[in-house]
């Protein structure tokens, strides 16, 4: 009854509104919120690596750039008067080439076909590369080369390379040379500037930035099962943080506002989560209809194979080879044994990130890079840097200053989310978030990422930038 009398108190307003409505139309009106923006986003600069550049399905294409999260974010900025133009280093059509989706196997890996890129103008094969020949594809120059684009996301750019001269100079495109073809195509020919110098130039007119970088530093190590790339030790993480600080010093110069994004947990990436030890073993057993265990090499390389544990991660790129018969020398005879599904033919170290050493190092490095408080001799992590630069608090619950993409998005997707009645999960392609390469995002995944940034900006700067209806975006970028 209490409820009832309270509600009657509002009846006067009700009747007035009701009468107006009756006289006009029968769809009742509501006031649409007007975007209020307390931060200058008129000149937005995006800094980062693969994700920021808009790579999708293993390649940078005209369409994947269109749906890059910075471009989607900029489009939302433009939906009200505060946003300005946003230039991207547009690549032609199929760009660098990509992995076209075919279907999903019963144990969950993606079958895809490599489509050649029309912007590839030459290749340099580095036969000294760690496991397989590493092919560097030279790309046609961006039309923005004279002026620099506002999306400065460079696929494969490592933080440790930001001070490398000639990183974008074709003269360095040699076997063993430090060279990034995506950086090269942003610059005039034979330009020897470092990324940091380019960034300094590009940032002069910027009023707002996003910084989401660092995952690519870990990817060579991850993709090679811990056999190539720099081992993510404490020193390695310190270098990452110091270089992140150099970039952020430039970005926050003069009190420029922006959002710093922390790295998600690497186990939320399908490259790893698809091959989580015990779950993969269960899927394989269901698929083969047996009870065979999955074996990995002893991480120290001394003992025999050992059964996989729930904290060991098989790389998703390995899955098609598991169970295939391969020749193994047992004693003095060569036997054909199923790969990984026989103790005498365990999964090789290069195909697995083992729990005891590799996963521990990677997890520690991500946490160190994100959250280290920076007591000497350690360098401060992103969270501490964000506080130093007096960037506003983003989450109210844990009072973080940097955008915790793991809690905001990646770990949620890993546990399946429902957005407007559509489910998104970490399953590549079918889950709608990750693309065929088990790492980069689909256009919808990029939309969700842009929405995470919008949520962060809205909370931090007390604005209300409209979010994207991600269900209207395509599920693949090509």
């Amino acid at each position: 009854m209490k409820n009832f009398s309270l509600n009657l108190g509002r009846t006067a307003g009700f009747i007035a509104a009701a009468t107006t409505l009756l006289l006009t139309a029968c769809a009742p009106g509501q006031d649409t919120p007007t975007p209020v923006v307390n931060v200058n986003v008129s000149n937005y600069l995006a800094v980062g690596d693969t994700y920021t550049a808009g790579v999708s399905a293993g390649g940078l294409t005209r369409n994947s750039q269109e749906y890059s999260f910075p471009n989607q974010l900029a489009r939302q900025f433009q939906s009200f008067s505060g946003g300005g133009t946003f230039t991207q280093p547009i690549i032609d059509g199929s760009g660098s080439g990509y992995l076209s989706f075919l279907d999903v196997s019963p144990i969950g890996y993606v079958r895809s076909r490599r489509v050649a890129g029309q912007a590839v103008r030459g290749t340099v094969v580095n036969s000294n590369s760690c496991i397989i020949p590493d092919t560097v594809r030279l790309l046609t120059r961006s039309t923005t080369a004279g002026t620099l684009p506002q999306n400065l996301g460079i696929p494969g750019l490592l933080l440790s390379q930001i001070n490398t001269a000639n990183l974008g100079n074709q003269s360095n495109a040699t076997p063993g040379g430090t060279f990034n073809p995506y950086f090269e195509r942003l610059l005039p020919a034979a330009d020897n500037r470092t990324y940091l110098q380019v960034l300094t130039t590009a940032s002069t007119s910027a009023t707002f930035f996003t910084f989401f970088q660092g995952l690519d530093d870990l990817m060579p190590y991850i993709r090679s099962g811990g056999t190539c790339g720099s081992t993510p030790t404490t020193n390695f993480a310190n270098t990452m943080k110091q270089n992140a600080k150099r970039v952020l010093d430039v970005l926050t110069a003069g009190g420029r506002q922006g959002v710093i994004a922390k790295l998600p947990n690497i186990t939320t990436l399908p490259l790893l989560s698809l091959g989580q030890g015990d779950r993969l073993q269960a899927r394989l057993q269901a698929s083969f209809g047996d009870k065979t265990l999955l074996y990995i090499e002893d991480p120290l390389g001394i003992g025999p194979g050992q059964p996989i544990s729930s904290d060991d991660y098989v790389l998703a790129t390995t899955l098609p080879r598991i169970g295939q018969l391969t020749p193994v020398l047992v004693g003095s005879t060569t036997l054909m044994l199923p790969y990984g599904r026989d103790v005498r033919n365990p999964l090789r170290d290069a195909d697995v990130l083992d729990a005891t050493t590799e996963m521990n190092l990677l997890t520690a490095a991500v946490s160190n890079y994100n959250n280290n408080t920076g007591v000497a001799p350690a360098a401060p992590g992103l969270e501490t840097l964000a506080k130093t630069y007096k960037l506003p608090i983003i989450t109210t619950s844990t009072s973080e200053s940097a955008l915790n993409l793991n809690d905001f998005l990646f770990s949620q997707v890993d546990g399946i989310i429902s957005v407007g009645g559509v489910q998104y999960s970490a399953e590549p392609v079918r889950g709608g978030f990750f693309s065929t390469d088990y790492y980069s995002l689909t256009p919808r995944g990029n939309g969700l990422l842009a929405n995470a940034f919008i949520t962060a900006i809205n909370r931090a700067y007390r604005t209300n930038i409209p979010a994207i209806d991600v269900n209207t975006l395509p599920t693949i970028a090509q």
């Binding site: 409820n3 009832f4 649409t32 919120p33 009645g421 559509v422 209300n464 269900n471």
Partner: protein, 414 residues
């Protein structure tokens, strides 16, 4: 008498909600004009379906028939919480109608028949709206048939009992937004029937004051013939979302407990009051028992609704302008059975304030024309979808609801 009825109030006071829900409004042109406060109202035989106890009052030599149509436009607007995009529901008219007949077989006993459409809705959102993967269109239609017998206990009291046979039809359509094909969608429909009872009592103290009390049981519509179909599903997911499946379900129509009084203030002015408690809590969840198809085993898909029992308070007035013309008016407040956590675009409801007006014009001593109109305006409702609860399909945003109900009919006595 009034004192005693007021004592009933605490009975309902512990309940937070009321009628509302997917009821179709008062079932008759004249009672619609009266705002539905007709538990103790004997000037229209439409009261028969709300309170069979009234039937004894028509145990005279006349046969009465009342017939008419009802149309309800129930429309909401939506503004997305994140996107700020406004979407208005498409205009749909939920058709309804009624047929009532009474005939006295003796001085003490009379028979009656009520056929009407008390529950239903038709929600239709634009096909491309933000929540298209939650729902695009949902529709429920019911017909209640109620043969009734009424007894005149003495000059002042009468009682009645009715048997209800109900038929209902439910359908729903939504987009499969996980696919690029904008026409990918799934559709389900089912129909079925159920039974119930309706009992009531009517009494008079003196010439001016009357009261009524009635209880209509809930009706479970058993739907065993449900079919579900999907279109636009890519081949790789054909096993997950089969092109056609069968299912069974049950829909609960709520019970109602009504108390009302009618008071002649002057010779020409009658005021009526009603309290109605509607037992919506039987609508706990929508459970679809889906049959096995191919390699997919039989399964149950449950969508939580968690409706609450709901209370409605109605006041009506009838004024006889002259021997031919009677005008009616009403005002009512209906609480919604839908809790904040379970607001879903399939069916939007809110605490509503309604006003109504109607008239009855006696063309001949035996034939009257009746018309009624009612307008309800709902409070703003805010839905907050939690995206980490992946099994609940919903969208976040605010809804505003308005309903327009109109009815015309004739009443004959011969």
């Amino acid at each position: 008498m009034r004192q005693r009825l007021l004592l009933l109030l605490p009975l309902f006071s512990g309940l937070t909600a009321s009628a509302g829900g997917f009821d179709n409004g008062p079932q008759g042109a004249r009672v619609l004009g009266l705002g539905g406060a007709s538990t103790a109202y004997i000037n229209s035989i439409a009261g028969l379906s709300l309170n069979p106890g009234l039937l004894g009052q028509w145990a005279d030599s006349l046969t009465r028939v009342s017939i008419g149509g009802i149309g309800q436009v129930r429309r909401s607007s939506y503004i997305g919480q994140g996107t700020f995009q406004r979407t208005d529901q498409d205009l749909t008219i939920q058709p309804g109608g009624y047929l009532y007949a009474t005939h006295g077989v003796s001085k003490r006993v009379s028979l009656g028949l009520a056929v009407n459409t008390p529950y239903g809705y038709h929600t239709k959102w634009p096909d491309t709206w933000e929540g298209r993967s939650v729902v695009q269109e949902s529709k429920l239609n019911t017909v209640f048939v109620q043969p009734t017998v009424g007894f005149r206990l003495n000059d002042n009291f009468s009682a009645g009992v009715g048997f209800i046979y109900a038929f209902g039809k439910y359908s729903q359509r939504r987009a499969l937004g996980q696919y690029d094909d904008p026409n990918a969608s799934t559709e389900l429909s089912a129909s079925g029937s159920g039974i119930g009872v309706n009992v009531g009592l009517y009494g008079r103290t003196g010439d001016n004051l009357a009261f009524g009390i009635s209880y209509r049981s809930g009706v479970k519509l058993k739907m065993d013939n449900g079919t579900s179909s999907a279109t636009g599903v890519p081949a790789r997911d054909a096993a997950l979302i089969p092109a056609a499946t069968e299912f069974k379900t049950q829909l609960s129509m709520p019970s109602t407990l009504s108390v009302g009084i009618a008071n002649h203030i002057t010779k020409n002015l009658l005021i009526t009051f009603d309290f109605t408690l509607t037992g919506w809590s039987t609508t706990d969840s929508l459970k679809l028992d889906v049959a096995a198809t191919g390699n997919t085993p039989a399964r149950r898909i449950a969508t939580a609704r968690r409706y609450e029992d709901a209370l409605a308070f109605r006041v009506g007035a009838e004024y006889q302008v002259n021997p031919k013309l009677t005008v009616l008016g009403g005002i009512r407040y209906d609480e919604t059975p839908i809790r904040d956590e379970y607001i879903n675009p399939e069916f939007i409801d809110a605490n509503r304030l309604g006003i109504s007006a109607g008239l009855s014009y006696q063309l001949t001593p035996r034939l009257a024309l009746e018309g009624g109109y009612s307008f309800d305006y709902g409070q703003l409702r805010t839905a907050r979808a939690n995206q980490t609860i992946e099994n609940v399909a919903n969208v976040s945003g605010t809804y505003r609801l308005a309903t327009n109900t109109a009815s015309v009919g004739v009443a004959v006595a011969f």
